[in-house]
């Protein structure tokens, strides 16, 4: 369509237009506040003059002859009857007035110093950059502002004051903008350099004699349903300016009294000021008739809703969707379930060719309302046509090569899936679409970990790439399969969770199945080749699991409880499959599979293993209950004894302390010694009791969960069955609340365990009120801690990632930033790509073993 022009921008100048430039740039001079005549056409010389651009469809621009959307709009100008001060340059004007002589207009710096300073600026600018030069200029200018005598003509200087927002006073006498302008005009070019102004700039331009009128394209009017026109805020403001300006002209020409002219002039100044910035603190903001504040130029750029943060730094995108997520362990790891209603709005453009025309016609035939259909076609000339019941026939007729059909999302389409906060690259991955009924996105629970998602109401976003290049890129670089190994620690970020781990653990540990059961199990997780099963009636769980493994895969590792796990040629010989090998962020088994068999195979295998575990658990049955926490009477008594003994021990320490017999530990005061001793005694008791309890509840379902790492830890079990233990705040026993005691229930200065937060009951037996209260104290403390720490660490991470975002590793292993500065001479000191290592180390023996083969 249009020829590409390659040009490099060497620099950009920011500056102020001179009155002449404004007039040269303008395509119309605005003289009347009227907008439209009686027929509704724009008035020539009005604010909506058609020479300023077109905003109505069908019309052509009078200046450039182009149509709507082609014509960029053109500036106009109005001649102000009296000069007005530009509100955004008030400070600069004040500086200039203060630092120049009232009479000879020279800078209040002695001649020889001017040269010196210019040299200094030049040097600072070259060495430390633009910002430093600016600071230096500010420093010098403010130094000479308050000189009382001009070093050039020896005349006394008056004090200049700014009466905000825009009135200048010289010892109580007001300087009109005309006078101010006259002074600025006299300042010599050489002296301006001291202020940092360039040679092509004149300070008097900061006082407006002509005002530039922005093109209508940046202040379009809206036609309401009633046919009435509603003008943009900027047009309203400009109307005010033009109106007052006309009145001022008339009054001046009629020779009206000075007071009236002054008043009108002030009003003009107010309108021009609010045109630029309607939030000047000393001025009442200009309002609509309804009292709504006008949005003028500054408001368009500023703040979160302004052009920069809203439109330039932040953008919204088409072909994206957001909804609640829910789990579906039966879809593949790299799939995402998309609600059908969404898939009919999210479309994929597909180009019509000889080979797919029949296929695409079927979508068109279905139309936008029947799935899988199509919503639009795009003709080769770029025109879009909506598919409706009326246009359908016609479109089917004309559809030919080169057309595009925007068809509904179907299974297997590529989509990007994302959850905020996007802290690492696995926060946005490519999934394959699977259209499902319902209204939520479905994802395999195994990929929750990289997204840090759960299903308590989390929402996620989906983006559909719109061309082949983007789809290829997403699929090759971002597909879930390719992201399995974390670049942070070189292990798999996805893995089996909870029920899948438990299922595989039980399967490989204790289950023996009938052949038919084994086949049923395997078939349910997507295996249809059963040749791997040994030819016998009773099949061991390990053998069932081994069917999933590749035939030439060997692996030696440890399970969670430290036993050896051995896989020889795709057969699990010993050890149980638990969290240490199947879990996320742990174990080398998945890492090794990934290395040997590649991303797609690993993702597939993980999906199968996960499904197998879930199927095993569903068939075998698994539940936990209160009775899991039961202990035999003798164990209960044993634990009671231990606790009693430790309490006695603690009381003994207290007695010794009270009678002065306690000897302090080295480096600690007597009080501290007591605390440490008591805490030590009580904690020992808790650990001992916990160990005993853990042994006794060996074979309950709850301990199975803990042992295979699916959920919970031994401490949780101990707290439920044996003893909750000492509650601590900031590493100490609870010691505040009332004066000298924690609760009014205890006597003052009671240091005994139960008065200081020792909970000797367990969750099953139930807590006493005071124990419960101590538990609530530590619970609240933990809650506060997390609530306060999360935003802090989030901000810390944000600063870190922003600081490092454009660092890259060069081919010589150096880490450099965008300007080529070296940050590290060898990446991470060891030049290792962690995602290519196993848990951060290179397994040299493993590699040798692989290469040489055989003997150890």
């Amino acid at each position: 369509m249009d020829r590409q022009v390659h040009k490099k921008i060497s620099h950009i100048d920011f500056g102020v237009f001179s009155p002449k430039q404004i007039m040269d740039l303008a395509s119309a001079k605005i003289v009347t506040p009227e907008l439209y005549d009686r027929e509704g056409y724009s008035v020539d010389g009005g604010l909506m003059d058609i020479r300023l651009g077109v905003i109505d469809p069908g019309l052509r621009c009078k200046t450039c002859g182009q149509k709507l959307k082609e014509c960029p709009g053109h500036f106009g100008y109005i001649e102000l009857a009296r000069p007005t001060i530009h509100i955004k340059f008030v400070r600069q004007i004040l500086d200039l007035l203060k630092s120049t002589c009232k009479y000879c207009a020279r800078v209040l710096i002695p001649e020889n110093n001017i040269k010196r300073y210019l040299g200094v600026f030049e040097k600072v600018g070259a060495e430390e950059g633009f910002e430093a030069r600016r600071r230096k200029i500010k420093e010098v200018v403010s130094k000479y502002k308050l000189k009382e005598k001009c070093p050039h003509c020896d005349k006394k200087q008056e004090k200049i004051k700014l009466d905000k927002p825009y009135n200048y006073y010289e010892t109580e006498i007001r300087l009109s903008p005309i006078e101010v302008r006259a002074r600025l005009e006299k300042i010599e070019e050489e002296d301006l350099a001291i202020f940092g102004y360039s040679k092509s700039f004149r300070p008097e331009w900061m006082i407006l004699t002509v005002l530039q009128i922005p093109p209508v394209t940046m202040r379009p009017s809206i036609t309401l349903e009633s046919g009435e026109r509603s003008e943009d805020d900027l047009t309203h403001k400009l109307g005010d300016i033009v109106r007052i300006n006309q009145r001022l002209f008339e009054n001046i020409n009629a020779g009206a009294p000075e007071v009236i002219i002054e008043d009108l002039w002030d009003l003009l100044q107010y309108h021009v000021t609010t045109f630029f910035d309607n939030a000047v603190s000393q001025l009442p903001p200009a309002r609509h008739r309804g009292g709504q504040v006008l949005k003028t130029l500054a408001a368009r750029i500023k703040s979160k809703e302004g052009r920069l943060r809203h439109n330039l730094a932040g953008k919204r995108t088409d072909f994206s969707a957001r909804t609640v997520i829910s789990p579906d362990p039966f879809i593949d790891l790299n799939e995402v379930g998309v609600p059908k209603s969404m898939s009919m709005n999210l479309t994929v453009p597909e180009r019509v060719t000889v080979w797919n025309i029949e296929y695409l016609k079927r979508f068109v035939q279905n139309g936008p309302k029947k799935y899988p259909g199509a919503n639009y076609i795009v003709k080769p000339d770029g025109k879009r046509k909506s598919i409706t019941a009326e246009t359908q026939e016609e479109i089917l007729e004309e559809l030919e090569e080169g057309y595009m059909v925007e068809r509904h999302l179907i299974d297997g389409d590529i989509a990007l899936f994302n959850r905020q906060p996007s802290l690492h690259r696995m926060s946005m991955m490519c999934h394959l679409v699977k259209v499902l009924p319902g209204k939520t996105f479905r994802l395999n629970p195994a990929v929750c970990n990289p997204y840090n998602a759960d299903f308590d109401g989390d929402e996620m976003n989906l983006h559909v790439p719109q061309n082949e290049e983007a789809r290829a890129e997403a699929r090759i670089l971002m597909l879930v399969d390719t992201q399995i190994i974390s670049p942070r620690y070189g292990l798999s970020v996805v893995g089996c969770i909870q029920d899948a781990i438990t299922g595989n653990y039980l399967l490989t540990k204790e289950l023996v199945l009938k052949r038919s059961e084994a086949i049923d199990l395997l078939y349910s997780c997507g295996v249809d080749d059963f040749s791997g099963l040994p030819n016998k009636e009773k099949i061991d769980g390990k053998e069932v699991f081994s069917v999933l493994l590749p035939k030439d895969f060997s692996y030696v590792g440890k399970d969670k409880s430290g036993n050896d796990v051995k896989i020889v040629n795709g057969q699990l010989k010993s050890g149980y499959m638990d969290k240490a090998n199947l879990g996320q962020e742990s174990g080398l088994m998945l890492r090794n599979v990934y290395e040997k068999y590649g991303p797609a195979y690993t993702a597939d295998l993980l999906g199968k293993i996960s499904k197998l575990g879930i199927a095993v658990l569903a068939r075998r049955g698994f539940s936990i209950g209160i009775s899991d926490m039961d202990l035999p009477l003798e164990t209960k008594n044993e634990i009671k004894d231990i606790i009693q003994k430790s309490e006695d021990e603690a009381n003994h320490f207290i007695d010794n302390f009270n009678s002065g017999k306690l000897e302090s530990l080295p480096g600690r005061s007597l009080d501290e010694t007591l605390e440490v001793s008591i805490l030590g005694a009580l904690n020992r008791a808790r650990n001992k009791a916990g160990d005993i309890a853990m042994k006794q509840v060996q074979n309950s379902a709850a301990t199975t969960l803990v042992r295979c790492g699916a959920r919970g830890n031994p401490l949780n079990i101990a707290q439920m069955t044996a003893i909750v233990g000492q509650q601590a705040l900031r590493g100490k026993r609870i010691d505040h609340g009332f004066t000298g005691r924690t609760l009014s229930y205890f006597s003052k200065n009671d240091l005994s365990p139960k008065a200081r937060g020792f909970v000797k009951n367990n969750f099953k037996s139930g807590l006493t009120p005071s124990e419960f209260f101590f538990g609530a104290m530590t619970g609240r403390d933990a809650l506060m801690d997390t609530a306060l720490r999360t935003p802090k660490s989030g901000y810390l991470y944000r600063r870190l990632s922003n600081a490092m975002q454009d660092l890259k590793i060069d081919y010589d292993d150096t880490v450099r930033d965008a300007s080529g500065k070296i940050i590290q001479f060898s990446y991470g000191e060891d030049c290792l790509d962690v995602s290519k290592t196993k848990n951060g180390v290179i397994d040299v023996t493993g590699i040798i073993h692989d290469v040489v083969g055989g003997g150890k």
Binding site: I822, Q824, F825, E829, L832
Partner: protein, 78 residues
């Protein structure tokens, strides 16, 4: 008597590159002195090397992952 901080176990070994070494070093990385990390001329670890601005200091650090790793810094005036 003042303490020689270079004898402290947490201070890595600092040494100054000779002009020839410096030229070779800058050449090998194809950079000029401005792209290097900086070190202040009055840094206590290098005062006894009597550096001048523009010198390159070689720092040999102990590294957990790579044994000994070498870092370079350009001396600058404060």
């Amino acid at each position: 008597m003042t303490l020689d901080i270079n004898k402290h176990h947490l201070i890595p070994k600092h040494s100054k590159l000779s002009d020839a070494e410096k030229g070779k070093f800058l050449d090998s990385y194809k950079i000029d002195i401005k792209s290097l990390p900086k070190i202040l001329i009055e840094d206590p670890a290098i005062v006894n090397l009597k550096p001048t601005a523009g010198d390159v200091i070689k720092i040999e650090r102990e590294s957990k992952t790579a044994g000994i790793t070498i870092y370079y810094r350009a001396v600058i005036n404060g």
